[in-house]
Subunit: 428 residues, 2 copies
């Protein structure tokens, strides 16, 4: 008998029918003799609808009140889920973030969990009840106000509960079967990974993979929580995310396999490229530029500086950043053009980023060669390159990204035999 | 500068526009230099929609979870209202029932307020903030669970807050201008009452008047809270409900008037009549019958026992009760027919109840004569009669009720000169 924490996203509890399906799933785990704690998101688009309402009554809603408003979404889904389980003859109790002891910082809209005191949850578990906890929310001890954790908050709630309750596994349910070697909607021959290391998962998530949120994976790695990413719509094993020294549960050895050099290929169309043209090639200019960009709130990813043209003594500096940060960054840079002394700015939002991730890169050479050759053979031009210890990323034309992903996926021998498109979902 | 508690029902905050209108109203009171505490209901039909959802996932929803579910409705409206006020440049903070210190019994769905500890509300007021409190909800200290107060709960929340904070007045807003001498939809010549005594209001509410809930009026009388029932859609003075020793605020003397003998005429079509035929006319039979009826959960109102026919030694006993209780009562009685020894049961749900209420009845005679004469002149047959110290009620055919109300209203000189239908609304 194990203690299992399960997380269900909004699409898994979008309506009464889905809620009953999830309840059935929880009851099955309970019948198997496990203790079950569930973190649940708001139903379907509830959060977006509440945000719209807020926008209608206030141009810039007060953060404290916005959290009060949004936190009601999970109260609805968790109460309904508890009722559904209850009506199947099993004891179930729902708890708000504060009732569950989810203590956070006071940063409304993006609070971070500082402590979890699940006293009431333990009591409920000891009394044999299934515990349902509102995802995405907590409260601050000093202000005694309700807070929300921001994007992907429910995943973090689940992992934090698993850590605090020392659960055997944290099952993150979504509408896809697990973590794939690539996005099946882009690469039909993508394969589901039985296991992936936490560090690889972080690189994949940071570079476009959508199934798990970085914060949750990071929290899990730091606290030694075993994540099992799986589908709400099937009972098949998904993907285990293993931190240092972790192993997949007994009885699933069949899933084990030799660690591949490359775990997967991630694609990302959400970035843009800004090129600063004609930067005086003297020390400190790059520093000035990125200080300005940082102050604009933009999150810079890749950076490339051309070799300076000796004749002019000037160079070009290109960097990528989320499309949503472009406007602010451009405005900030334009304001210091004369001060820094560059000629002009070029904005390009038609780029695509392809990343190859694999812990095996540490010990194997030639990994990048395979990438570059595959791309050149298929005539895909590389515009930027950046690497980490276990990742190689390249920027290509957005239109080339899908094709690039497919050839690279093949080149690393990641292709499966079946068409994986059937597994594809929204990714959440 | 006064402390004002305001209550806004669901129809007053049904959408973004109405919420902004209410926010404006609150801000006006704040501008006038008053401290303002607001109890708000869930938006429009939210509560009904949540109840439907609950029914879809569970035939008989667990009471604890149902309260958790329903309590989310007020969290949405109160947060939106606080945002709207905030965006008008005034500090505003929303509080859940538990944050507001609304301590109740553990009876989910019909909890009673046992104590109010508005510590956080006082802090917020001292800091100059408008306080918004979720109506209809509280929490139980022992179970630490969220509770709801049942029908009309938000009115009770407002009155309880006014009592705990020693407010100068508790303004209950609805879509009608106040308390009328009769339901304007039934009696077009009904007049708005500038003042009504708490005891009269209780009799009116208990006998069909819908503007205020009995529990709230009772709570106000017990704790000496001045209620001002008025309309969300006009700034005109509504009706003051005066408990013992209370008087309407200065500056509204113009509204004062000589206390009339009859305050108003209440009509009620929600009752049914059950007649137990051929009851052995021996001591204790009536007691047996009403013990059975009470055990069925039915709420008996009026009772009439015919004079026994000496020949048969049998009599008929009639009583009225809410239509919704009829089925259970009939079933319970039928089960003890032979035991009690009556012949048969007759159920009549086509009755109407007319009540004349006035504290003046204590000191004036002939009040009932006026009633009976008016009804006989207009050919309305009286089926049952019951009286209290300040009320006379009669049961007539449901079809005759409206006509009866109009002639009686005229007979007591209550008719106004203007058609009051324009004030008529849902009553909530």
């Amino acid at each position: 008998m194990a203690l299992i924490v399960q997380k269900y996203g909004g699409s898994s509890v979008a309506d009464a029918e889905s809620i009953k399906r999830v309840a059935k799933r929880i009851v099955d785990a309970r019948r198997a003799g496990h203790d079950v704690v569930v973190a649940v998101s708001a139903m379907g688009d509830t959060t977006d609808e509440l945000l719209e309402l807020a926008a209608e009554v206030a141009p810039i809603p007060a953060p404290r009140e916005l959290d009060m408003l949004l936190s009601s979404g999970e109260r609805i889904s968790m109460a309904l889920l508890a009722m559904a389980i209850h009506s199947m003859g099993f004891e179930a109790r729902s708890f708000t973030g504060s009732q569950a002891g989810m203590i956070t910082t006071a940063d409304h809209g993006s609070a971070r969990i500082v402590d979890v005191t699940p006293i009431r949850l333990r009591e409920a578990l000891d009394e044999g009840a299934v515990v349902i906890v509102a995802g995405f929310q907590g409260f601050n001890r000093d202000t005694r106000d309700i807070t929300t954790l921001g994007r992907g908050g429910s995943d973090t709630t689940a992992v934090a509960l698993a850590a605090a309750l020392d659960a055997d596994v944290c099952e993150i349910y979504s509408d896809v079967d697990g973590i794939f070697t690539a996005d099946p909607r882009v690469v039909p021959k993508a394969r589901k990974l039985p296991v992936v290391s936490a560090e690889e998962m972080l690189e994949l998530a940071a570079n476009g993979a959508k199934v798990l949120y970085i914060r949750a994976v990071e929290y899990a790695r730091r606290h030694g929580v075993l994540i099992h990413a799986r589908s709400t719509f099937s009972s098949s094993t998904g993907t285990y995310v293993l931190g240092a020294g972790m192993s997949i549960p007994d009885g699933e050895e069949g899933e084990k396999m030799e660690e591949p050099i490359v775990a997967g290929v991630a694609t990302d169309l959400s970035q843009a490229k800004i090129t600063v043209i004609g930067v005086p090639d003297v020390p400190g200019k790059a520093a000035e530029i990125f200080k300005v960009v940082a102050r604009s709130g933009a999150n810079v990813d890749m950076i490339v500086q051309n070799v300076s043209a000796a004749a002019t003594g000037r160079t070009d500096i290109s960097f990528t950043l989320p499309k949503s940060d472009s406007a602010a960054a451009l405005k900030a840079l334009d304001a210091v053009r004369s001060e820094i002394g560059f000629d002009s700015l070029v904005h390009d939002d038609q780029i695509g980023k392809l990343s190859v991730v694999g812990a095996g890169m540490r010990t194997h050479s030639g990994v990048s060669a395979t990438l570059f050759e595959a791309l050149s053979v298929s005539g895909v031009n590389i515009e930027m390159i950046s690497t980490s210890e276990i990742r190689i990323s390249v920027v290509v034309r957005g239109d080339d990204l899908a094709e690039a992903a497919r050839v690279v996926h093949t080149a690393y021998g990641l292709d499966g035999d079946v068409d994986a498109t059937v597994y594809a979902g929204s990714g959440r």
